[in-house]
């Protein structure tokens, strides 16, 4: 074994001599979270392994296992392969790459460190953004032999995007370029030119070798031209964001209301910025109600003051409405509340973003329904160019407008990560599909006011002597929707009801002729039909629609648009085999032959309704009976 194995960093002088003193020192450490970003071969895992090793976080049995592993699968010949310490999952060990976010821990006398190890592959933007979201600092690794690469630019852009203020440019593998100062300085100059172009005004550049240990914990004799600091020195002394956050106005998102009995009502939450003291005037958002803090309650007794980063329970002097999702803020500097935003979104799911489809949006402690518009542009993360885009695919980043179904308290991400960052959750799969950062609220919602009309929807309905409704027929192509819809309308007309039939094929000839059959276009198709149907119910009509409408999320979206009790989802249930056998329009044949793409039931899914108002089994009843059942539901 020829790797340099002398641990150079002493953390344990006091352990043997005076354990109580040691514990006292270590109880007063601060904590720094950082990420390391680099390409597959930049030596990232090796560097982290080195930090663990030098701060004595590796035990003898792990070292023995490491030696054995190094010989078996290591990439460093007979030397210790530190990368094996941090590459966790079995599959990764075989592939020799890191493929997810892993968190590592080490500590010195001054600080505890949490390192997010994030991969450098292009398809894993998601992972880097995840790892960076909680980091105070980013170490951008560059291979001294290769200089600033596309990946370097991408990682720097992402770190900056996610709001990391402290950037370290670690020029690694200096041993392989003979510790050449010119090489180092050329890379730093290249990086500076790029960094300032994307708004990174300050960074610290260090010449290192993770493998040999140069300038990691001690200044290297191989780089006498580098005056310092070492990587470890810098990590130990750089200002952490928590200190920065304490100086901002007070904000706390309410997580949970604590009510053990009638005499106690406390609001539990994590303080995101600022400080709070009993007697402080506060304002609850979005309601705008004000009060003062009466107590800061903890198990260890009431506090005189609490600061950003602490989890506390606040009691207020007045009985005001306040619940999970609300934000308690300094009264003189409250946060804003809005329902339309411009935001940067990072898409994290295999299924592309669908503009118009409602997703759950979680920001702070509130979860609301939200829709996203088509991106204004997508960012090419390799050169920061803006590209036109209809949607965002996995790992794409773009600027979009977002509309929530109610006003939510927030702050721009640049001012407050906790109240400006959000995730998007698919309503069907519950997967976290995107992450976003709010730039600002759109004033459009304030400027477009509803025109109050004198003839109300109730008046329209009363004139027609009927209750408006939307009868939404959904089912496979060829299930019989149009036939049944037509019969329903005829029956209602005979009963002197005012109706209108919106048929899928007909609408696509006009209103929606610009739309195709991709998942995104299908969503927009249904959204427009929903809006039209809604206007018609305002006019007092009974609207019958016949659309395949294959996705549950869009049917639920339309349901959400209507007045309660006015939406009737009718599942025209015909098995695929039966619909295909009928094939009245010859479409299944074309789809099977591959001439028709994205055909529901063949190469595009149909999500059956979970709880429709009515299910019509067309194998058990004919169209006439089905229409009769629907009419009976509407006019009992």
């Amino acid at each position: 074994m020829s790797a340099p194995l002398d641990p150079v960093y002493k953390t344990d002088a006091l352990i043997a001599e005076d354990i109580d003193k040691y514990l006292d020192v270590h109880q007063h450490k601060t904590m720094l979270r950082f990420i390391t970003c680099g390409s597959v071969d930049d030596g990232k895992s090796t560097l982290i392994g080195r930090l663990l090793y030098d701060s004595k976080m590796i035990f003898e049995d792990q070292l023995a296992a490491l030696e054995a592993d190094s010989k078996k699968v290591g990439t460093q010949g007979q030397e210790l392969d530190f990368a094996l310490l941090v590459d966790g999952l079995a599959a990764e060990r075989e592939q020799g790459i890191t493929i997810d976010v892993a968190y590592r821990f080490f500590a010195t006398e001054k600080r505890k460190f949490i390192v997010a190890d994030t991969p450098g592959h292009e398809q894993y933007t998601r992972n880097m953004v995840t790892g960076a979201s909680t980091a105070d600092l980013a170490v951008i690794l560059v291979d001294a032999r290769k200089g600033v690469l596309t990946q370097t630019r991408r990682h720097s852009y992402l770190a900056h995007l996610i709001g990391i203020r402290n950037i370290v440019l670690a020029v690694n593998k200096m041993d392989l370029v003979g510790y050449n100062r010119e090489v180092f300085e050329k890379i730093v100059a290249d990086y500076r030119a790029f960094a300032s172009s994307i708004g990174i005004t300050d960074f610290v550049a260090l010449p290192i070798s993770g493998f040999k240990g140069d300038n990691i914990t001690t200044l290297s004799p191989n780089t006498p031209w580098h005056a310092g600091p070492t990587l470890m020195e810098h990590l130990e002394t750089v200002e952490i964001d928590a200190a920065h956050d304490a100086a901002k106005p007070f904000r706390m998102a309410v997580q949970w209301v604590n009510r053990p009995n009638l005499d106690f009502r406390g609001f539990a939450g994590l303080i995101s910025t600022g400080t709070v003291k009993p007697g402080d005037a506060i304002r609850v958002l979005p309601s705008g109600k004000t009060s003062t803090v009466s107590r800061i309650v903890t198990l260890d007794g009431d506090l005189k003051e609490a600061v950003a980063g602490q989890s506390v329970t606040l009691c207020l002097a007045d009985e005001i409405d306040c619940s999970r999702g609300d934000v308690i803020a300094a009264a003189e500097a409250p946060v804003q509340a809005a329902d339309q935003f411009e935001a940067v979104i990072v898409w994290m799911d295999e299924q592309p973003m669908l503009p118009g489809r409602p997703y759950w949006l979680k920001l702070g402690t509130q979860t609301v329904s939200a829709t996203v518009t088509e991106p204004k542009y997508q960012v090419n993360v390799n050169n920061m160019d803006h590209l036109a885009a209809k949607t965002l695919e996995l790992n794409a980043i773009g600027s979009c407008n977002i509309a929530t179904d109610r006003r939510i308290p927030f702050e721009p991400y640049g001012e407050n990560r906790e109240l400006g960052g959000f995730i998007l959750i698919d309503k069907m799969t519950n997967a976290t599909v995107g992450a976003g950062m709010i730039h600002f609220a759109l004033r459009r919602s304030d400027n477009v006011h509803w025109q109050a009309t004198d003839i109300s929807r109730e008046h329209h309905a009363a004139l027609k002597n009927q209750k408006p409704a939307v009868v939404w027929l959904t089912g496979l192509s060829g299930a019989g929707k149009s036939t049944i819809a037509n019969l329903v309308e005829k029956k209602l007309a005979r009963m002197n009801r005012h109706t209108f039939l919106l048929d899928g094929d007909n609408v696509r000839h006009g209103l929606n002729k610009d739309l195709g059959f991709t998942a995104a276009d299908r969503v927009e198709n249904i959204r427009r039909v929903g809006e039209v149907a809604k206007l018609m119910t305002d006019a007092g009509l009974i609207v019958i629609t016949a659309f395949i409408s294959p996705f549950r999320a869009e049917r639920d979206m339309v349901r959400g648009m209507m007045q309660p009790g006015e939406f009737f989802e009718v599942f025209i249930d015909t098995p695929l085999a039966e619909a295909e056998r009928r094939d009245v329009k010859g479409l299944y044949k074309k789809a099977r032959a591959g001439q028709l793409k994205n055909f529901t039931g063949i190469d595009s899914p149909y999500e059956a309704p979970a709880a429709p108002e009515l299910r019509v089994d067309t194998t058990a009843m004919d169209a006439e009976e089905a229409a009769e059942a629907i009419v009976r539901m509407l006019v009992p």
Partner: protein, 299 residues
């Protein structure tokens, strides 16, 4: 005022526990009586004070824990004002599954199967666990909110991204969450916090003379008369303590005279073997042992 690392870790753990209580329908805290469980219980008391923690404790029992653990378990739950639920896998009980005769089957039936049975039996949709990312390589990549399918499986390739302090706790019926509030704590953090907060832990963590035998490289404590002695084996009194606690026949002791917390911490810091080495469980399936167990539903 700058928060210390322990204050920040505490605040993060409390925040996680409150998120679960706010979003889950039926949370439960897995309680194994070890030092990590002791810290979890303490954090839960802090998170919900002055209310008692609004969920029960669940002990998935193997019937083979140290006697001292059973004593502390019942006392700790009572003092916290929480319900204690104990589940013993009836199949394992019937077949008298034990660590001496059944090897890996012991862990599989009592713990992995027992846990699934217990979660299903009471319909818990979120279970707090005390796992830490520094314990083992596959844990380092697990999320704080770890999603499990309806049959309790973990899919390491398909984990939800976790950003900022935003945890996605949404799931469909039958699916569940395992939640790890002390993910970011290290072994040293745990010990320091126990020291700082004066948290009570099982006396087995402190050195004392105990009856032991040496077997297959491990020092095992003869905690009761179910321990089958091999020919020639004679329990000897040794001054030992335990760095981690599990089933007594599977948990190796270390020879030690450390009988105060600072001394235990001192030994931990000066020691040269990692925490889980005293446990036989990780070595069962080669290097990827724990990862495989976790996919199958082990905590």
């Amino acid at each position: 005022m700058s928060l210390t690392h322990l204050q920040r870790l505490e605040a993060e753990s409390i925040h996680i526990m409150r998120e679960v209580v706010a979003e889950a329908e039926r949370p439960v805290m897995l309680y194994s009586v070890g030092k990590d469980s002791a810290v979890m219980l303490h954090l839960a008391k802090k998170a919900f004070f002055p209310s008692p923690p609004p969920f029960p404790l669940l002990h998935v029992d193997t019937t083979w824990k140290f006697r001292a653990m059973y004593e502390l378990r019942d006392q700790a739950a009572r003092e916290a004002g929480m319900d204690l639920l104990v589940h013993q896998n009836p199949d394992a009980l019937e077949k008298s599954i034990n660590p001496f005769d059944h090897g890996p089957l012991h862990t599989d039936m009592w713990k992995t199967e027992g846990l699934k049975q217990a979660l299903d039996k009471w319909g818990f949709d979120a279970a707090f666990g005390g796992a830490r990312r520094d314990e083992e390589k596959s844990r380092a990549k697990e999320r704080v909110f770890s999603f499990r399918s309806a049959n309790h499986r973990w899919d390491p390739k398909n984990q939800r991204p976790e950003l900022w302090h935003l945890y996605n706790a949404r799931k469909n019926k039958g699916e569940s969450m395992r939640v790890f509030p002390i993910s970011n704590w290290t072994e040293l953090d745990i010990w320091q916090y126990i020291h700082l907060e004066g948290i009570r832990i099982v006396p087995l963590y402190f050195a004392a003379p105990r009856p032991t035998v040496e077997r297959d490289g491990l020092i095992l404590m003869v905690d009761d008369d179910r321990f089958p002695l091999r020919p020639g084996e004679e329990p000897q009194m040794r001054s030992v303590r335990f760095r981690t606690l599990g089933c007594y026949p599977l948990t190796g002791a270390v020879e030690s005279t450390a009988d105060t917390l600072p001394q235990v911490i001192q030994e931990m810091l000066l020691t040269t073997t990692s925490e889980r080495q005293g446990r036989a469980i990780d070595k069962d399936a080669g290097g990827a042992g724990m990862e495989k167990k976790k996919q199958e539903g082990y905590f």
